[in-house]
Symmetry: C5
Subunit: 365 residues, 5 copies
Amino acid sequence: MAHVFGGLANLRSLLRRRTAPGAMPGTLTGDPTTTTTSIRVMAYGPERLVEQEVDDPSELTALMAEWPVVWVDVDGLGDVAKLRGLGEVLRIHPLALEDATSCHQRSKIERYADHDFIVVRMINLGDRIVTEQLNVFLSQGLVVTLQGERPGDSLDPVRARLRTARGRIRELGADYLAYSLVDAVIDGYFPVLGELGERLEKLEEEVVTALRQDAPSRIHSAKHDLMTVRRSLWPLREAMGALWRDESPHIAPGTRVYLRDCYDHTAQLMDIVESYREVTGSLMEIHLSSVSNRMNEVMRMLTVIGTLFIPLTFITGLYGMNFDPALSRWNMPELRWQYGYPFALALMVVTSGAFLVYFRRRGWL
Amino acid sequence: MAHVFGGLANLRSLLRRRTAPGAMPGTLTGDPTTTTTSIRVMAYGPERLVEQEVDDPSELTALMAEWPVVWVDVDGLGDVAKLRGLGEVLRIHPLALEDATSCHQRSKIERYADHDFIVVRMINLGDRIVTEQLNVFLSQGLVVTLQGERPGDSLDPVRARLRTARGRIRELGADYLAYSLVDAVIDGYFPVLGELGERLEKLEEEVVTALRQDAPSRIHSAKHDLMTVRRSLWPLREAMGALWRDESPHIAPGTRVYLRDCYDHTAQLMDIVESYREVTGSLMEIHLSSVSNRMNEVMRMLTVIGTLFIPLTFITGLYGMNFDPALSRWNMPELRWQYGYPFALALMVVTSGAFLVYFRRRGWL
Amino acid sequence: MAHVFGGLANLRSLLRRRTAPGAMPGTLTGDPTTTTTSIRVMAYGPERLVEQEVDDPSELTALMAEWPVVWVDVDGLGDVAKLRGLGEVLRIHPLALEDATSCHQRSKIERYADHDFIVVRMINLGDRIVTEQLNVFLSQGLVVTLQGERPGDSLDPVRARLRTARGRIRELGADYLAYSLVDAVIDGYFPVLGELGERLEKLEEEVVTALRQDAPSRIHSAKHDLMTVRRSLWPLREAMGALWRDESPHIAPGTRVYLRDCYDHTAQLMDIVESYREVTGSLMEIHLSSVSNRMNEVMRMLTVIGTLFIPLTFITGLYGMNFDPALSRWNMPELRWQYGYPFALALMVVTSGAFLVYFRRRGWL
Amino acid sequence: MAHVFGGLANLRSLLRRRTAPGAMPGTLTGDPTTTTTSIRVMAYGPERLVEQEVDDPSELTALMAEWPVVWVDVDGLGDVAKLRGLGEVLRIHPLALEDATSCHQRSKIERYADHDFIVVRMINLGDRIVTEQLNVFLSQGLVVTLQGERPGDSLDPVRARLRTARGRIRELGADYLAYSLVDAVIDGYFPVLGELGERLEKLEEEVVTALRQDAPSRIHSAKHDLMTVRRSLWPLREAMGALWRDESPHIAPGTRVYLRDCYDHTAQLMDIVESYREVTGSLMEIHLSSVSNRMNEVMRMLTVIGTLFIPLTFITGLYGMNFDPALSRWNMPELRWQYGYPFALALMVVTSGAFLVYFRRRGWL
Amino acid sequence: MAHVFGGLANLRSLLRRRTAPGAMPGTLTGDPTTTTTSIRVMAYGPERLVEQEVDDPSELTALMAEWPVVWVDVDGLGDVAKLRGLGEVLRIHPLALEDATSCHQRSKIERYADHDFIVVRMINLGDRIVTEQLNVFLSQGLVVTLQGERPGDSLDPVRARLRTARGRIRELGADYLAYSLVDAVIDGYFPVLGELGERLEKLEEEVVTALRQDAPSRIHSAKHDLMTVRRSLWPLREAMGALWRDESPHIAPGTRVYLRDCYDHTAQLMDIVESYREVTGSLMEIHLSSVSNRMNEVMRMLTVIGTLFIPLTFITGLYGMNFDPALSRWNMPELRWQYGYPFALALMVVTSGAFLVYFRRRGWL
């Protein structure tokens, strides 16, 4: 059951990763688990697209002057100097950069003077639900994404669409690219919820058919996973709502209808999560009710059996008394009857039968 | 009890039906379970009405030019090419069309540049509550409805009213037609809730009179149904509120009073659902209280019976001891009394009687 | 206990009374349980007042032209034709008229072009709480009230004040009359709540002093009654808030201060209902705690008694063994002691005493 | 336990005190428990202050013309005629006057054309929490306070400050006086909550150390008291928020900062009440958990004792059987062994010991 | 367990520290536990910084005229006269000063004419969570901080940054200093929550592996701590939101982006607290479920053992009866069989075996 609170350990480790209390705002801590920061650039217009690895952030200036849209895709938070250089070249606000590198931000959208700063959390379902922070900076003709914690992300379909020029993505601006990235992240929640749903169904099967003792902790574990998703989705929905509703100079009016769609998807996801939570709550109630039913049944049956034998034992005790029938004709004359023993046995059978009938009438059996 | 979570399986299957994560927005998936898409058109003015089957969406342009109001009634989401053609001819926004064909949208109202897009979920009560998506596109003089999942819908009364020209429906515009369709869908909730109410009454009867062991799972099942209706009604009410309150160029001011009426009906429905939920909660409490009462009664009675016999068995044991009265006059002289055995029996009766009186005084019997 | 869900049956019957799904808006169903619709008119100015029965709605036009304020008081929804005529003469919107005749509306206030439409639910406490719909239409110089379900209403004090010209009611306009009517309905809630409170007090008395087995269902029944009142009050308060706050051409600014007072009363009523609900919840908790306490006490005492006898029975069994003291001096020499039997009895007394002391020390007795 | 629902009886009695349903608005009922209404006046400017008893309300006109601020302090609601006269002379709106004399108003602030009407409920902690209504009318240069139910109030400190001219109270206007009065009432909540807190601490002590059977009802009683305070504070906070935020012609901008302070205090009070409620909830949980723990322990120990004796009794029964060892060497040869009896005793000790070890290993002991 | 309600005693003591009810607003009580009030000043511009101890508040005027930013850092609330002098020299509103010295304010932000008044509560984790009030007054070029209860605060990192001129803190104005102070306080919550999380993990370990009887009270204690943090964070977040969103003449637009960051941190903290609360709730449920499981298992096993012996004891009783086989061949002929005793033993073994098999089949064992 130790895994129930993986989430707890996770939260605590994030608390440790923070900059020291009272540190200067804008301090970059970077990620101590890695030392590299790779910068890949995709620059494109409707007709052409180049992809290249960039080592010195200052090379970006030329690219930004040449291409309509430039996507700077930063992976790994190990090289603090490079990150700081990047922030200066691309005019990212120090506070935003600090948030982007601290890995434990909630999903949010913040408007800075020179750019919009969007944080969304990508979801991953391994043994437990894990979320990873994706930072998106959006300004005129420029999208910067920054991610760190683990290799792999949900953005490959967007890269593929850019390369193959499927749809109108290459014709539209940086705002549409940012939307596509956020949308890909949100789409990543759907299969995770599908998988969670399958696990819930399996759990349900077990709760209903077998009285497994680890059911409560497994149900709690499922509940905890759902809470993690919910806590991740809630600010995501809020952020998407703000992104769609609040005007931004960096987002064309035509793109906002797509952002509304994103918002809509988060609302659907919340709906599904709420359904799952409700089902999980029902599972616990049904489990407890089954446990209590079974306990009641066992105790009742055992007590009934015990009670049935009590008068029998009394009768055997009766005729085990040492009153001497030879001394007085009042002293247990049955002992001297020819059919005394069968009479005693019959007495027992009749008594038990009477009890049985009585119990069954009262519905206790 | 497996049917408790039909809803769960249902939700999960919807998750599978989605377009792949990261897919281009506006991608149409269609419905893999069918291959056809039929387009029926009702075009009418105050005086006349024509109904015809349309095969090529481009035929619609002529109809729309000729008639004051055109209702394009699309059934089945199997023919993706036809759907795409339809979207182009009728200038439906690709995002709206994608939503309309994905079958798992919540009720909502979205304003696009060229049209309003209304999603409402129709309700059906078979073995379980099932909801089906109805998409309504409304622009000047044009209403497009799109539905897919199952045959049959709640719109036949509207078709009949159009044909017989009952009321003023033919004199009023496309907005009134859209209202009539949405109103018909909302009206479809009332008989379903009536039926649910009857089931609840029957369930109540059983819970109160018989202690059936499947009561908890049946109550949970009813609860689940109510939650499904509630989850369907909640966004419906919100959408109706937005439809009524927010100005739209496609809706005449005179029609808005009808939309307020729709909103009012959804509020009434929510009221009924809340009452049912409250009753269902009471049922569970009463069931649990009955179960516990019965268990308590059984255990108490059994224990009382057991306790009554305990002193009797003790007395029999007493006189079953092998102290020899012949050896000493202190050794159970009762054994040698003439009326020793009746005395022992009387002792037992008196003891039991005393216990009975004591138990009854304390109210344990 | 069948009466617990009288409310349920009630709700369901309302669902049956509705117009068919998809019916034309503005369809009047009337009330199938009656065939009559009586129209009484009170027309008045500061100086004079006439009361008359009106049979043909068209007679009202003359009265409205002549008198400053006309109150058309319609009772019974049986005569659909008369109701439709009334609607036309008094220019009541068809949707409002449909709502007014369908008897299951929540309290609300709706502004139509020609009039305000106010629905309030009157309360009645028979065996169960019952609410009845009162419809009030307010336009310049005209108040129409429409009610149906049962004879008798809460409006008689207003009629009396009009006849005797007490207060300034005859000097003020139709809006003040409408206020007086709504106020009378709201005032009708106070004695009902008083009566409910008395029942709760009686119930409390019983729950605390006697452990009656029907307590849970009676508490649930009280809870249900309170929920009915609450569900009736909630929209009433909302409607009163809207009536007071939103400007209406039919309500003079001087009257709005009175409507605020109405709103205030509904808030007070909600307060009382919430207090009652809280008390009812406490009653259930106290009942359950008493039941469990009593059960615990009984079981503990019975088990203690049983346990006290167990060593006694053991001792009797011991000396009932058939080891022959004559064969060996190790074989239960007590049997041959002169005071063997008294010794055994003493042993029993000492053992029981030790147990008693131990139990009491541990606080089990 | 009857005192649990003192609050209930209280509420109900208030319901009885109301004017009859449908009564004319503005009807004064007065207080049937008293017959007097005393009017004390404090009129003051920065330099001087007069205090006098006024018998005829019309005397007030002269005082108001002469002094910058006049505080009319009315005590007792018995003399309806005097109250009505007061209302006319001071131009108090009839509805406000009706509310002021009906004693069961929630805290509120209402703006009338000629004055602001503030209702606050003073708190008193006797055996139970009791609240009393204080009505404050504020217009230019005039403050009227009206209270009825009991002698004594929380306003004496303000009177003292006026007399001694401590602080700037005499230099500031009527609005500052009204603020001071309301502030004194709110300050009166703090010691009451302090006392409640002490009671809670005592209760906690008892719940934790002793298993008193009246704990649930005492906890409920405390909960009830807290609910009473909460129900009183909630509208008070709302009213203070409205008083501070909404502009009023009778309140100088400089005074509003003081009213914000009042609002702040109510928020603090709510905070404390919420903490107490949380603690009370914990107490109940801890009590129930203790009760169940103790019950479990008792039953387990008793059952263990019983179970330990069961095999002993069986062995005694075994050697109490009447098989005759003389007839066959298979018939209980132990009976004829020299050390048969010690052997049997040893058998018992070993069996019991084995059971004890087993129970302890399983952790049942 | 007495420490569960340390918080309660704490709250109550705060209630005692208040000024008397009805006291003049602006009354300073000071802190009776100390007699000193020390004033340290840090005055700085981009180039230079002086630090000095100030004894007479009037010395501050000269400093304020000379330096761009002056930070007046007041420690200890014992010297009421000095505090009053400070308030006059620095033009602090009397109400704000009263709040600042009363030590039990909730976090808040209040705008006064001459300054902003910010209250934040610093957190400290000793044995229990304790919060301490930090008052910040912000006006043009001046920041006053006032704290009292305990030595030590969270502000040292800011002092260090000022002295070493790290970052741009010395170049920016008083508003940035105020932000840095508040930010340092908020940062102080993170390690406390980290520590709380570690305690929760340890508690979890214990709840899951051992059934400790003090688990409920320890879980409640953790819950209580979390509630304390939550009650402290909630108004803090609100205050930060107001600080960031509402325009103030004392806060430059460029500083507001930093305040948004502060707000963001409080939201993150709330998130963590909510996760912890959820985990704590799960712990209680798991504990209760374990306790009940274990109790059920023990009782079931004991009852099964008891039940297994019941028929055995019956059989021994049977053959302990005194029917004389010599008198009749119907009287227990087994007693005279050669293998009668082995037969009886076998009978017992078979009966017990049958019961065992039956119990195991029914799944009771």
